[in-house]
């Protein structure tokens, strides 16, 4: 019996290594980009094969942006990282795996696609949610993940803060506003996708604060007759950045492919894939083409309002920061 099973097992194990591309890249990414990179990887592999005659296979790993950065620091052999926010790549750079000036190596803050934060509500918008102010009303239950672990959640938090700061004019009032908002949050999931599942599948909450692309995806998956997207008039410009992990790529000898991979985002084809997956493209021509897909939202950047990620992280999300203060009360 054992003698008969062993060759079968051995055969199965061997079969896994039977297909080997000329080059293999590992892209360590954040949660909501699964569908985006499934699409992008296929297109890049085809383009690369056409140009160089070499086949390339891109492996994916997805998870909360912060924990993915942590895994790369701990030795996950990522050739490239495509994370939710610059701070997480800064953390990897802080350990010497990436040079500190990484964000200047590619155009547009190394963020070839952008997104923003919108509201996903149930059919007919029963609580009449139109703007940020509606989120702090009593009886409105808001779903958003934990900003300590989730990149998307940090964008959500900063978007709300930026809105309040602009409307009420002072940091104290903004803190009050964001505190009121989090009092309406019944559960903090660890990642953006976890929150979406809580809202969509488990039917908890009246409104989900979500990446625009994540909201569109949920709507596509479950039907427009179940969920509506509400874009607030003012929100944050979320720039998810990407970088080659120099230490790993140099060791594996994959730098050239890895750089070509990231640069492909800046081509018309790359920009089109972003737009098709509901990420806002940077290329003006493609943006015009997909104009109708994205609501007109006034967008502020993290540099304008918060003075960059390092400062925002330290002030708001570090141990004992503003988020800890408001979530305790």
């Amino acid at each position: 019996m054992v003698r008969r099973i062993l060759p079968i097992l051995a055969g199965l194990l061997w079969a896994s290594s039977a297909f080997a591309a000329d080059v293999t890249l590992l892209n360590v990414s954040y949660d909501p980009t699964r569908e985006l990179y499934a699409d992008f990887n296929k297109a890049f592999a085809a383009a690369y094969q056409k140009e160089t005659g070499k086949s390339v296979e891109i492996k994916q790993s997805h998870g909360g942006s912060g924990s993915q950065a942590r895994a790369v620091i701990d030795g996950l052999q990522a050739d490239v990282v495509t994370l939710a926010l610059a701070y997480d790549i800064d953390a990897i750079a802080g350990k010497g795996l990436i040079p500190p000036d990484w964000q200047k190596r590619l155009p547009l803050n190394a963020s070839p696609y952008t997104s923003t934060i919108v509201f996903l509500v149930r059919k007919g918008n029963p609580k009449g949610i139109k703007d940020w102010d509606d989120l702090i009303k009593s009886g409105v239950s808001v779903i958003t993940p934990n900003p300590k672990t989730s990149g998307g959640a940090r964008w959500n938090y900063l978007a709300a803060w930026g809105y309040a700061l602009k409307k009420y004019g002072s940091a104290d009032k903004a803190k009050q506003f964001v505190g009121d908002l989090y009092r309406n949050v019944p559960v903090l999931d660890t990642g953006a996708r976890g929150s979406t599942v809580t809202f969509v599948e488990r039917a908890v909450g009246d409104v989900l604060l979500a990446w625009e692309n994540e909201a569109f995806l949920a709507q596509r998956q479950f039907g427009k007759d179940k969920f509506e997207i509400v874009s607030p008039p003012l929100s944050i410009l979320a720039e998810p950045p990407l970088s080659v992990v120099d230490k790993v790529a140099d060791k594996k000898g994959t730098r050239a492919v890895a750089e070509a991979y990231l640069k492909y985002w800046y081509t018309k084809e790359g920009q089109e894939i972003a737009a098709r997956n509901s990420y806002r493209p940077r290329d003006p021509e493609i943006a015009r083409e997909y104009q109708a897909s994205f609501a007109k939202v006034e967008l502020f950047t993290i540099d304008d309002v918060f003075g960059g990620w390092t400062k925002a992280q330290k002030e708001h999300f570090a141990e004992g920061g503003v988020f800890d203060q408001i979530y305790k009360n």
Binding site: L9, L26, K59, Q60, H62, A71, D74, G75, Q77
Partner: protein, 289 residues
């Protein structure tokens, strides 16, 4: 005389069993509990897996990513079960047949993985083998990948599952004592002969029992493996990890199809466990007094 006897026996019945309605209520509560917490979830897993027909179910299982997860799970289970088999028998032998200082301490050490949260077990290996850990830099310099690859997943699984075989054998071997071994040795058998001819036949059902539980846990482990896996698609995702990933990707049929395999493993384990327990009881009867 007979009156007294019947009085005594009925009194004994009264003492032994609760009144009928109480019995019914207690049994009903137990059954309802089982149905709600065990049977219903099992049914839901299979219902979801087959919700789009058998074709969708089969194509979900034949997906390359699913195959890779199944292969990895089998490989990791094979590695950790065989190592823990050797370790468990040796440890149980040492504890049951010999007297030495620190024995109680050794027994509590063996139980350690039962009392530690699996996430902590995973993190321990990150601290040891991670890029910033004790041995990580040396390993990286020598191009040895432990974490986020098969060795790391196997290590974490071995750690989580190592009490099972030892725990199944220790009470059994302690109860059997050392008499038969002493007889064998006094008749001139060598240590190894004694082990394979006397000790092993006595504990074989216990060994199988331990291996069975060890295997079930090895295939089902989530927490520790999740920490050391790195979640590389088609490479370092085990079946339990893939179930969660597919669920989060809104691929409910695929997710529950993999989950149904794990559920079937659980059912097979359950049946095998019952059979083994019968053998264990029988094996012990002749020795009883």
């Amino acid at each position: 005389m007979s009156e007294l006897q019947s009085y005594l026996s009925s009194a004994r019945d009264d003492l032994r069993t609760e009144p009928r309605p109480v019995r019914i209520v207690i049994i009903a509560i137990a059954v309802i509990f089982l149905v709600v917490f065990v049977v219903l979830p099992l049914v839901v897993v299979f219902a979801q897996a087959f919700s789009k027909g058998i074709g969708a179910y089969l194509s979900a299982l034949s997906d390359p990513e699913a195959w890779s997860a199944i292969r990895l799970t089998l490989l990791v289970a094979a590695i950790s079960v065989s190592l823990n088999l050797v370790f468990g028998v040796i440890a149980a032998w040492a504890i049951a047949k010999f007297e030495f200082r620190g024995k109680t301490f050794l027994i509590s050490l063996i139980d350690l993985p039962f009392s530690v949260s699996p996430v902590i077990s995973g993190l321990v290996f990150v601290l040891l083998f991670g890029g910033q850990g004790y041995w990580g830099p040396w390993l990286q310099a020598h191009n040895i990948q432990v974490l986020f690859a098969v060795p790391g997943i196997a290590l974490a699984t071995i750690f989580v599952t190592f009490p099972f075989v030892a725990r199944a054998l220790i009470p059994l071997m302690q109860e059997q004592g050392t008499l038969e071994e002493e007889a064998a040795i006094s008749l001139g058998a060598s240590g190894l002969q004694t082990f394979f001819r006397v000790t092993l036949p006595n504990i074989k059902w216990g060994v199988l029992y331990g291996v069975l539980l060890c295997n079930a846990r090895a295939m089902g482990e989530f927490g520790a493996v999740s920490v050391v896996s790195g979640h590389i698609r088609g490479e370092t995702n085990t079946m339990p990890l893939l179930v969660e990933i597919l669920y989060n990707e809104y691929q409910f049929v695929s997710s529950f199809a993999i989950a149904s395999l794990l559920a079937m493993l659980a059912l097979i384990t359950l049946v095998a466990k019952t059979i083994l327990e019968q053998h264990l009881d029988e094996g012990q009867q002749p020795r009883g007094d």
